[in-house]
Amino acid sequence: MNCDDVIRAIPLYHYGELEPEVEEGVEDHVESCDSCRAALARQKALAVALDRHELAPPPELLAECRHELVRAIYREETPAVRRNASDPWGLFREAFRSMWHPGIRFAQPAGAVALVTLGFFAARFFPSISDQAPDAIVSSIRSVQPDNTGRVQIALDETRRRVISGRVEDQNIRRLLLAAAREQDNPGVRVESVGLLKDQCTSPDTRAVMLERLQNDPNPGVRLKALEGLKTFATDPEVRRTLAQVLLKDQNAGVRIQVIDLLITRQDAATAGVLQTLIGKEDNNYVRMRCQNALRDMNASVGTF
């Protein structure tokens, strides 16, 4: 190889893109040629300078891009990938994400889907609530019985889907949401319903459902939504009693932290007693620290005597 060949080959040599025999030729030549060796050194220096010039996108930009992509996908009118509207876990994940990432507008489509799902409750509890035509009928076959005449008798169950829409303040909608908040098989519907009802806690029946969900719902997302609704009633004696019980028995540290925040809005002996009891059995360091801080603020001792 002569100098011209080597100079031409140097960029590809640097990037390891030469055939092995050509690579060897470059190495042999460079060993005995000062000017080509200098050219190779310049190539390396160029690469180092360019490495330093590389921009690393900041994590916030990546996070922003991901959020915008989610939003854009929801805006898509004819997506190739369709969300399975009947998948309760999908609904739950969606609603749960919206709790932790308020920047993402998951709640709106999830709410819409929840309303569609509420159609089932409408048919079940309020057969006359809407006279709209059903948009789907789902059947399951119970029995098939042929008779002697060549005919067949088929027994089937029908579920008629109806869509109800209205404002949350509307009494019928609220009653549906209260029923949906207890829907056993669908945590997504419960999260969405409790989330929609949380601003309606001035009504005693709504507050009662919130307290009941806070104590008994197996899903922490639903319990957290219920807590949000009860925030403005944190000084109500009945609410405080429930909060104290939940604090001592709830398995979810996130729920316990939220409960502590609500309880310490009133710093009394009963609250100190509950926090002291919790410290004795709490295994989560952060929750224990929150308790200790709260007790310190209340000038109460950390232990019970």
């Binding site: 031409r8 960029p11 590809l12 990037y15 893109e17 310049r42 190539q43 220096a45 160029l46 690469a47 300078a49 360019l50 490495d51 330093r52 010039h53 590389e54 921009l55 690393a56 996108p57 900041p58 930009l61 990546l62 922003e64 891009c65 991901r66 915008e68 992509l69 854009a72 996908i73 898509e76 997506p79 190739a80 990938v81 369709r82 969300r83 399975n84 999908g90 994940r93």
Partner: protein
């Protein structure tokens, strides 16, 4: 060593199988699988766009457009090339469009006027490498400006080949696949790109 190499090859093969399963799930409508797919590639896509276009706004546009195209067209992916190649065809096409449009309307000013005086939009993005020593910093700034001009002097295609090879570490054959050209043409592009840069940066390196 041999065992390590075999293990790595096996891991790659498994991960290819996993990826095929994820893609099939996406084609079947699994939204979570789509999210997994995006998260596998989106950092390198954003990095490529950011380095090519040197603008966070444009990089964000490329990201959105690329993954929305994937979302809309994933059902047409038939596994006759790797997903990486398919995705990068989309991304490089969008980036090349941006670069070509920019050539037409000339390079956007990186420095913008603000109430507090002129500000370089890229100053908020840290370049990799130490800048503690003031003299070194000044030299780096000078070098950085020259590299910027050197990169701006490349054709969109040269710029793309260079970015994919130097920063993304792709082989020239794979770059040829992505750009719909031969390995030889990609080699020529890389050669021209490095020659141009060495000419512009000659006295600094």
């Amino acid at each position: 060593m041999l065992q390590d190499a075999a293990g790595a090859a096996n891991a790659r093969a498994v991960s290819k199988v996993d990826e095929a399963a994820v893609i099939r799930a996406v084609q079947g409508g699994d939204q979570d699988a789509f999210e997994r797919l995006v998260r596998t590639y989106d950092q390198s896509v954003l990095r490529l766009a950011m380095n090519l276009l040197r603008s966070p706004e444009d990089a964000r546009d490329v990201y959105q457009e690329a993954f929305l195209r994937v979302y809309r067209n994933i059902h047409t992916f038939r596994f006759d090339c790797s997903f990486h190649t398919w995705l990068y065809r989309i991304v490089t096409n969008i980036c090349l469009d941006h670069l070509r449009k920019r050539k037409v309307r000339r390079e956007e000013a990186a420095v913008i006027d603000t109430a507090d005086g002129p500000v370089d939009r890229m100053d908020s993005f840290e370049e990799e490498g130490p800048h503690a020593d003031p003299e070194r910093r000044m030299w780096n700034n000078q070098l950085s400006g020259r590299i910027e001009s050197a990169l701006a002097g490349l054709t969109p295609r040269e710029r793309m080949v260079f970015e994919l090879r130097h920063y993304q570490g792709m082989r020239l054959r794979a770059i040829g696949d992505v750009l719909g050209t031969s390995e030889e043409a990609a080699k020529n592009c890389l050669f021209r790109a490095t020659q141009k840069m060495r000419t512009v940066l000659g006295d600094l390196i």
